[in-house]
Amino acid sequence: MKWKYIFPFIIFFFVYLVQITVVPFIRLAGVIPDLILILLVYYSISRGQLYGTVLGAGYGLLIDLISGNLLGLSMLSKTIAGFVAGYFTGESKKDTNVSTYNFSLIVLLCSIVDTIVFTFFSTFDLQTNILSILFEQALLPSLYTAVVSILFIFYPFRRRMF
């Protein structure tokens, strides 16, 4: 029972190491995919909205502590992303949403939400234009993350691992 709660955090450290050391090599025009978000969306869909919300908070807090960002910023954005991903859970829907291209679309949506919240709170200005943030800073990284998440659909051991 407890292993179910600890294992995602163990996996987080490995995925985050890959994120900061290997992923910069596959940068395209300064844009990199967010592997942590893919992991979060998977857990939200498989284990429910409440689990996803709390896991998003945990992942976000760890990212803030390790990376030097404003503490609480990633926690906020990942919490909301985990909550949104949880809408696609359900006994009848979760297998479909995790094993088909629906997963990439859900990752795209959650990534856009995550990036908008993060960018909005980090550059808060009365003149901030949400549409500008959406098109210029949220869409490209989210598309790249969604494309990378397609690999996850074809990863054969994900059920056994997770």
Partner: protein
Amino acid sequence: MFRFFSKVWSNFREYIVLVIVVLLSLIILSQNQNLQVQKVRAIAFGSFASVSSIISDLFSTTDLKRENRELRETNAKLMLMLSKLRKYGITNDELRNLVQFKDTTAFPLIPASIVSKSLSFVQNSITLNAGSKDSVLAGMPVLNDEGLIGIIQSTAEEFSIAKTLHNVDLKLAVMDERSRINGILKWTGEELIMMNIPSTYDIEAGDRIVTSDISSIVAFPIPVGIVEEFKPDASGVFSYIKIKPFVDLATIDNLFILAVVKSKQVEDLELNFYRQ
């Protein structure tokens, strides 16, 4: 009453938890300047950085060949520049001796390399493999042979985190090297701009921007970038100046930390002057 709360919890628990966690995040966001919070962050990133430095060393070997070629080319150019500068240095020494100037050109540089980079467009920061045991302090500038990269934000024993020029929280006093006009440099999330410059001031595209003498963070001029675009903003009173940094933040790996923090004595003196 208990049944009511139990019913509310079972129907809306996801929303209740969301609200609680969001409030918690906002509270934590507001506590970022707290000393205890900063200590916890220093311990956390120091611990993780020691592991990520091992992995990043493995991957950085693939870039060594390209980097060596670039360094050989830079060395050749520097050698030519050096012989020219030697000649100027001899003349300079003679003139200094004539007016008895104090020599202030010996700056201590701490070499470091990047262990990890943050993922964010707007809050870009880098983790370096030099920390308090190497005499690194918060507030020290980070630079390379091209120019300023950022400012040290916090330190652990063996690692430190620096905010780069692409971080919205970093605002620096800078000046136009030619016309000596001062302004504030900031990253908007999309571009690097110099703010609050009246439209009538003498700044042209191509001007070099360096850190200002009056900066409370950087003690002396370090190259920052070049003016790319200069045009009046919507009000027509102030100008919008876009700066292209000399350093390509996406490709930097090895750099130096300038082991100088602006004198607290000077700062206190200046602040006391303005308080009178």
